[in-house]
């Protein structure tokens, strides 16, 4: 090849050579520029992994370019065909190279940025994968916890709870061993209570005050502990190389009343149990965070479940205790009732048994007194009498009082003569009073009704007791008894502020005052007066104060009668005044038939049936006379006949009652009754027929009633029987009319 300064030999050759020169030049240029571009752009971008290839590639291009450049100086003459082919090839190569070089300028940055994005996405994908993994594990943990909790809480049995916990934890976490250590009663040691695989844990104990345990107890998180610590040395030493990791967590043992929300469970409990969990040995497993969280949650749940179980146990125990107590109480009550019943029946028996001999003693001693006695004997008899009277009073008093005590005493209620009551008291008291030369006066107010409804016997007892005391404790002077109807405003006595009497329409309060000029009562003794068995402490009283029961009983009776009683005294030697109020009823209506039952001694000649004309039919003279006497006693106007015939002759419509003795011969009585019945067809004229029979046969009675007899009275006839029969019949007749 000639140098460029030479003129080419043929013009065609020159053209071709010119083109060849140009092409080579451009190719070289392209070859050089491409690596430069590459280097430039790669330097600009951070990401280009194959730098060494780049260098190789750069070297390759540069050398190729150099080759082409050197070709500029080597110039061979080729045949024109070859020359043309070469020229064309070179021209094309040059064009493509330049085009490529130019295009690379655009493409390389794009390629580089794609790479960058790709890397970025890859990173993102990895991150998302990671996160998803975490979420999944969390969800699984949650599921496990729920399941565990469900298992634990589905039972209220302490042992089941704990066992289930261990089993489920073991399963969920794939543990080799799981154990629970409970604090002993003394609180100084932890005792192995439950394990997963060992059926009956031998009572290992571990002192509580060890650093590991303290560490675990001081936080509510699960703590990894060394597999060699005493609480973790549970597995049989079987030559495993790597012991699995161990985690321990505290389980608070809550007391029943420790459910304070805000400081639960930090402050409210001091007792913990220890749960120890061991991963399988010789595995590469480690405790993951989510597993620890699961363990912590479970520990809390267990605590709650245990406390529920404890509460339940407690309440069951309490309930059992209550039931036992209930049974015991019931038993005791029944025993008490039996005892009371026994006592009452004992008292009832003793009542009779004790009174009878007592009365004999008193009666006979009184009789003895009436006989001829030497003075010593008389003295002895008097003493006997006094003592036995005292004893009798005491017995009566005790028996009454015991009945009063259990409230089994009920007041009787009957109509009685109030004036008469006071008269009797006076009569009873007069002998003693006259012996002591005391004046006794009584004044009953005029508005005090003659009859009243109440418990006569007990009222008598009260008055007698009070008056008797007055007489007993008075040696000279007088005793005055007064009774009035209490006025409503005077009912509230300032001395008895708790007393609120409320008289009603039918009731009235009677105020009785007994004043004496006796030895009086000192201030200090006054409150004890009505206390049973309380003796007067005063040395001035020479008289032994009775049995001590009298006033107590009085007070009880007065209270039962809705009243009040108290004793006033100005002091020793200044006499005393006893005042009491009792509630009585007005008699409903003065019914003849309800007039008081007569006592034997004072004969008042009660007339129940004044002027009632009665016809007595009896063939037996004695019996006739007896019946007549009875009816006369009742105040009737009596006619006697001795046969049925006479009866029919004598009877008039004025005769209100016919009393017939059924033992009239044959069927005389039946006939007579029937005839009398027929004689007076008009109801209001018909006399009442009463038959006296000794036959208690029911059919006989019915026969009589069928014939027209109004009443059948069974012999022997007493005053009462007759009275009752008459009053009932006359009442009825009155009503019917």
């Amino acid at each position: 090849m000639d140098c460029i300064c030479f003129e080419p030999q043929w013009p065609a050759d020159e053209l071709l050579m010119k083109y060849q020169y140009i092409s080579d030049f451009f190719i070289a240029l392209a070859y050089f520029s491409i690596p430069l571009e590459l280097i430039y752009f790669v330097k600009k971008s951070a990401v280009f992994p194959y730098r060494w290839v780049l260098v190789q590639f750069g070297a390759f291009i540069v050398l190729c370019g150099a080759t082409h450049l050197i070709n500029l100086w080597t110039f061979d003459v080729y045949t024109p065909t070859v020359a043309i082919v070469m020229t064309t090839a070179k021209v094309l190569t040059a064009a493509v190279s330049c085009a490529t070089a130019l295009m690379l300028v655009h493409i390389i940055p794009d390629l580089l940025s794609v790479k960058t994005r790709e890397l970025f996405l890859k990173n993102k994908a990895a991150e998302l994968d990671r996160e998803m993994g975490i979420i999944r594990t969390q969800e699984e943990t949650g599921r496990h916890v729920r399941m565990l909790t469900h298992e634990i809480r589905s039972t209220l049995n302490r042992h089941t709870i704990l066992k289930t916990t261990l089993v489920e934890l073991g399963r969920t976490l794939g543990l080799e061993e799981c154990a629970l250590w409970m604090p002993t009663r003394s609180g100084l040691e932890l005792q192995l209570s439950y394990t997963l695989h060992q059926q009956n844990p031998v009572g290992f104990t571990v002192p509580i005050q060890s650093p590991v345990i303290n560490q675990v107890f001081s936080t509510d998180r699960a703590v990894k502990i060394s597999p060699n610590s005493p609480v973790a040395r549970l597995r049989p030493a079987s030559g495993k190389f790597i012991l699995g990791e161990v985690v321990a967590v505290r389980v608070p043992l809550l007391h029943l009343n420790n459910f304070q929300i805000y400081d639960w469970p930090e402050l409210s409990t001091k007792r913990y149990a220890l749960m120890v969990l061991m991963l399988p040995s010789d595995s590469a497993r480690q405790w993951h965070v989510h597993e620890l969280e699961l363990v912590e949650v479970v520990a809390d749940q267990v605590a709650v479940a245990l406390s529920h179980a404890a509460i339940l146990e407690e309440s069951m125990r309490a309930r059992d205790l209550l039931m036992e107590q209930n049974v015991a109480l019931d038993h005791a009550r029944r025993e008490a009732e039996t005892a009371v019943r026994a006592r009452n029946s004992f008292l009832a028996v003793m009542n009779h048994e004790m009174r009878t001999p007592m009365h004999s003693i008193i009666a006979l001693s009184s009789l003895l007194q009436e006989t001829d006695l030497t003075p010593e004997q008389r003295l002895m008899v008097e003493t006997i009498l006094k003592s036995s009277n005292l004893l009798a009073t005491l017995i009566n008093g005790v028996l009454d009082l015991s009945r009063l005590e259990d409230g089994s005493l009920e007041l009787d209620s009957a109509t009685f003569n109030l004036h008469f009551l006071f008269k009797e008291v006076l009569n009873l008291i007069k002998p003693v009073a006259s012996v002591k030369r005391l004046y006794v006066t009584s004044s009953l107010s005029s508005d005090l009704p003659e009859y009243a409804v109440g418990d006569e016997k007990r009222l008598m007892q009260i008055i007698l007791n009070i008056v008797g005391n007055a007489v007993k404790f008075t040696n000279e002077g007088s005793i005055s008894i007064s009774a009035i109807i209490a006025k409503p405003d005077s009912l509230r006595d300032p001395r008895a502020p708790d007393f609120f009497p409320l008289p009603g329409d039918n009731n009235f309060y009677m105020r009785v005052q007994v004043k004496d000029t006796g030895i009086g009562i000192s201030q200090q003794d006054t409150p004890k007066l009505f206390t049973k068995f309380a003796e007067s402490q005063s040395t001035a009283s020479r008289n032994p104060s009775g049995s001590g029961l009298g006033l107590a009983i009085c007070k009880r009776f007065v209270n039962l009668m809705e009243g009040n009683i108290w004793i006033e005294s100005e002091g020793v030697g200044k006499g005393s005044t006893a005042i009491f109020y009792v509630k009585l009823e007005y008699p409903a209506r003065l019914n003849e038939s309800r007039l008081p039952h007569m006592r034997l001694q004072p004969k008042l000649g009660q007339t129940s049936f004044p002027g009632v004309k009665v016809l007595v039919v009896d063939d037996n003279g004695v019996s006739r006379t007896a019946t007549r006497g009875l009816l006369v006693h009742l105040g009737c106007d009596v006619t006697v006949v001795s046969s049925g015939e006479e009866c029919l002759q004598v009877i008039t419509k004025d005769h209100k009652v016919v009393i017939m003795d059924v033992s009239l011969p044959g069927t005389e009585s039946y006939n007579a009754a029937r005839l009398v019945h027929d004689r007076f067809p008009k109801r209001h004229e018909k006399p009442l027929i009463i038959t006296l029979t000794s036959n208690t046969d029911r059919s006989a009675k019915e026969n009589l009633l069928r014939v027209g007899v109004d009443a059948v009275v069974v012999k022997p006839v007493s005053v009462e029987k007759m009275r009752t029969a008459l009053s009932e019949l006359l009442e009825h007749k009155k009503d019917v009319q």
Partner: protein, 152 residues
Amino acid sequence: MDAVSQLQRQFVEHATSLYREGYLDDQFTQLLKLQDESNPDFVVEVVSLFFEDSEKLLNNLATALQQESIDYKQVDAHVHQFKGSSSSIGAQRVKNVCVVFRNYCDEKNLDGCLVCLEQAKNEYLLVRNKLEALFNLEQQILQAGGSVPMMA
């Protein structure tokens, strides 16, 4: 005073014994109750009536049982009367004998009846004596100026 109390004591004793030994029963007490100021001699009246009646009845019974052919119905009627009076008075033992007597009458058992008649007569005499003694004592007490003790 002593005499009266002595008499009273005797009266009480006697009266008590009558009841205790069954000569008298509650019916007599009832009669006593009927005696009062308006009827002071009631008891004596009734008792005297009883005595008269009984003697009559006893005689009738004796006659009736001596018949050749005894009319038991009649006998029964008499006994019935006797029973009635004695129970009105309260002469318990007499009444009891009458009950037995009636049974024999029903059986028409002459021997039984005769035995009963004797018994009845005896009982009647006994009770009559006792009652008379009682009334005597009563009289004496009243004459001595005391009061007749009342039955409790």
